[in-house]
Symmetry: C2
Subunit: 190 residues, 2 copies
Amino acid sequence: MAPTRERILDATAELFRRYGYTGTGLKQVVAAANAPFGSLYHHFPGGKQQLGAEVVHRAGHMYQKLVESVFDSGADAVEGTANVFSGAAEVLKATDYADACPIATVALEVASTDDTLRQATAEVFESWIQGATTRFADAGVPEARARELAILLVAALEGAFVLDRAMRGTEALRVAGAAAATAVEAALAG
Amino acid sequence: MAPTRERILDATAELFRRYGYTGTGLKQVVAAANAPFGSLYHHFPGGKQQLGAEVVHRAGHMYQKLVESVFDSGADAVEGTANVFSGAAEVLKATDYADACPIATVALEVASTDDTLRQATAEVFESWIQGATTRFADAGVPEARARELAILLVAALEGAFVLDRAMRGTEALRVAGAAAATAVEAALAG
DNA sequence: GTCTATAGAAGGATAGAC
DNA sequence: GTCTATCCTTCTATAGAC
């Protein structure tokens, strides 16, 4: 079995994704992680805020690696972009519209309430944008335009998650994916 | 002064937008609404869930009217689309990155925890999509494509809100707005 | 209909034995 | 480092006086 600290982090990430930050209780966390309550404060003396910040960074990094591997599985940047959205749609459907972005819910919740956590979510988004920018630049898109495409990709993905989780469908991911792929194509052609 | 029931609804909408559903306490609500605690359960016997559902519908409707009036202020659908994003960016900045979409935070929070509320958010999004679809169709876009554009507009707006609130900037709204306007232009030309 | 008081559960956090 | 017991606050919700 994984060490206690890791189990707590993983369990929290899963709970955040479904119930958000304020919606996840620490008692719920230790129950899901099969850990005694005290060990939570042993490993995270900063309490819920510290745990939250570490989870945001950890989950953000893992999700980035996952999405990038899906992107890189495409033959080119256009196909890679399309694959990210279709892959996300599959996961969303398979988890009964529960597992979407591990960061977005927390990001909206803490944006005006906890600046430490807000900064953590901002760093994750910036890292995602950087990763995508590099890929588009490598594909031949001029630097400035590459960053715009990257922001567009992340924003379209996040926005589609909001709509599709609420409406329990994958229409938004499909539409947003097609639009993002078209934008990438245009940037490569122009 | 507005009647108690309205004051409660308006105060709750404002609190939801900033702190979300789970992050907003009912005591906080009655304090902000200048109402005694008991009157909350007099007017909303269904408790927090009923209050939440009514607020989602009410705020969703008001926001739709607001956005549509901004859209209609444009000379055509392309300019209208662009105006929606630039207007949103202004409001976001003016409120210190607090007042974005009144629905999105709640939508993500309740998507997997409360089906009544989830349905309320879904109805609001569908209404927004319908409103935008009509406008694009009236501008000459074929029906099926008009709905896709509408979904794209809403998703891009929501996604940009997530990024910009987290990063405390308006870059995503700017990029997403330009992309949405371009997509509308292409649909009108094609 | 208005308002106060309080119940009962759950929240985050801490102390201290082992 | 592990684990239990407990503190204090806050939460939603209810009861009942006026």
